[in-house]
């Protein structure tokens, strides 16, 4: 469904992607693991058209999307949930959702505000609250809900557990599990291996802008050596 081939990109001076290749199949949850600054966010931003790749290609649903503007990519059904949430703090919950609203598309789970509120019950209780007066966990829920309003067939989820208390992270894992069972394809970036293990089918490990490992979560769990080399050092 999402095929990234030989992607190279430059972002500022320090973060450079070299030869990133990955594949996400329909309905899969795939984790992109790596430490801070390894290139996870840059990979996502490049796929999303927010950073222009210097070479390589991104295919989504059989179409080339690399080089297109981010709004075009979003309109093709690829949703993006940024790492730092980027809630519109002056807008209410309902208005935040409105910004994300797009026409429904075939072959993707359709969402209504009410359906989203059943997945994110907290949000239903604060429809008219400005985004700036929500807690970190609530904002994280809202940023995901906002992206779902575009009825994406796949989403890029950048470090959803970042900065959240352990107890909220557990909730988040359940919610993402629920989205997976709706048939949503997810590419998830994480530093938290425990969190990824709860959700993902397969994982890639990125380090210094290169993919260093690819395998199922079970393989990764068994591979002490890889974990030691890329995730803990």
């Amino acid at each position: 469904m999402l095929d990234v081939a030989d992607l190279h990109s430059h972002y500022g001076r320090a973060h450079i992607l070299a030869d990133v290749t990955l594949h996400v199949g329909r309905g899969e949850v795939v984790a992109l693991l790596g430490r801070n600054g390894a290139g996870k966010s840059t990979t996502f931003k490049t796929i999303m058209g927010l950073v222009k790749p210097t070479s390589g290609s991104v295919m989504f649903n059989g179409e080339t999307i690399s080089g297109a503007g981010s709004h075009t990519i979003c309109q093709k059904g690829l949703g993006y949930v940024p790492e730092d949430r980027r809630i519109f703090t002056d807008l209410t919950v309902m208005e935040n959702l409105e910004v994300g609203r797009q026409p429904e598309r075939e072959g993707a789970p359709a969402w209504t505000v009410e359906k989203l509120f059943s997945v994110f019950p907290n949000l239903a209780e604060m429809r008219n609250r400005p985004g700036g007066r929500m807690s970190g966990g609530e904002q994280q829920m809202l940023t995901i809900a906002r992206t779902l309003m575009g009825h994406p067939s796949a989403i890029l989820l950048d470090e959803p557990s970042e900065g959240l208390a352990p107890v909220i992270v557990e909730q988040m894992a359940q919610t993402i599990g629920a989205l997976k069972s709706e048939g949503l394809t997810v590419l998830l970036s994480e530093q938290n291996l425990h969190f990824a293990t709860l959700l993902a089918d397969r994982a890639y490990i990125i380090e210094k802008g290169r993919i260093r490992y690819e395998g199922t979560m079970a393989d990764l769990a068994a591979d002490e050596e890889v974990r030691a080399a890329y995730l803990t050092v």
Binding site: R13, A14, R35, N36, G37, E83, D84, R85, I87, T89, G132, R133, M134, S135, G136, G137, Q139, E159, S161, E162, G163, L164, A165, P166, V167, I168, V169, E170, A173, Q191, N192, L193, H194, F195, L198, R227, A228, L231, T232, V233
Partner: protein, 275 residues
């Protein structure tokens, strides 16, 4: 350890409300010389508000903050700094257009009240002292590089050297390992712990990474909705059922003792929602 006759920092009855909501309510604690005290709690529990009151950024509604017997309430952050209270930030704040050495020199120049010198080059002020501090945090080799091109972990070390420039008695560290890789965190905290012990500096730090908290703090305090709900040794706090309920959860998303590998990432950019 809690009950010392002559604490470095003594906080009594510290309170602050915003629009009728108690952000911090009647917080009391002591901090001993050379002690590392961790302050943990959910987002919005009042940790940042607490820090801001300790260093003078925010006036408390009530309560007192005493540094070696001297009242800090009512002082500006700069006055508090001059008395020997350093602060580090969640997100690194360095002078990107200066070299590592110049960053430390700026802190030394300010410490010696020379910021309005008009003639002699900045690079000639306190160069040896700056290098000595950088050497202590392992950054001497990169002294001439621009801060703007450093790796994140190295910036954190530079900040530590900067914080040491005014010979502080107390360091307030706001999520010192935020945004770092797991091993870097452990290294940085080990370095910090070493330095504070040899110089007998006290440290109060907030942290989201429970592995760092349980590995490096002498004591842990838990803040929830502005109130201190637990305080004690790391092991005792960890076993506290109330703390598990409000903050730690079932423990499935951070490392257990046997496996301190990957961990919950810290609050690098939690959005502006701290109460």
């Amino acid at each position: 350890m809690t009950n010392v006759s002559n604490p470095v920092l003594a906080v009594r009855g510290l309170s602050k409300s915003f629009g009728g909501v108690h952000a911090v309510a009647d917080v009391n604690f002591f901090l001993d010389a050379g002690e590392l005290l961790a302050l943990i709690g959910p987002n919005g529990a009042g940790k940042t508000t607490c820090f801001n009151m300790l260093n003078g950024q925010l006036p408390p509604d009530a309560g007192s903050v005493k540094l070696q017997g001297r009242e800090l309430v009512g002082m500006t952050p700069r006055q508090v700094w001059r008395l020997g209270v350093g602060r580090t930030f969640q997100i690194t704040a360095t002078f990107a257009s200066m070299t590592v050495r110049e960053n430390v020199q700026m802190a030394l120049i300010s410490h010696h009240k020379r910021i309005r010198a008009l003639w002699r080059r900045t690079g000639d002020h306190y160069a040896d002292e700056a290098l000595a501090l950088l050497d202590r945090v392992g950054m001497a080799e990169q002294a001439e590089r621009a801060c703007g091109v450093l790796a994140y972990g190295d910036l954190k070390r530079v900040e530590l050297a900067v914080a040491l420039a005014n010979e502080p008695q107390l360091l307030l560290m706001d999520e010192p390992t935020a945004g770092m890789a797991p091993q870097e965190r452990i290294d940085l905290m080990a370095l910090t712990a070493g330095i504070v012990r040899e110089r007998s500096i006290s440290v109060l730090f907030t942290e989201h990474d429970m592995d760092v908290v349980f590995a490096h703090s002498d004591r842990v305090m838990v803040l929830n909705r502005g109130e201190l709900v637990a305080e004690g040794s790391p092991a005792a706090v960890r076993a506290d059922p109330l703390v598990q309920e409000i903050y730690l959860g079932a423990g499935s998303t951070f490392g257990s003792d046997e496996q301190p590998a990957a961990t919950t990432t810290a609050d690098a950019a939690a959005g502006g929602t701290h109460a």
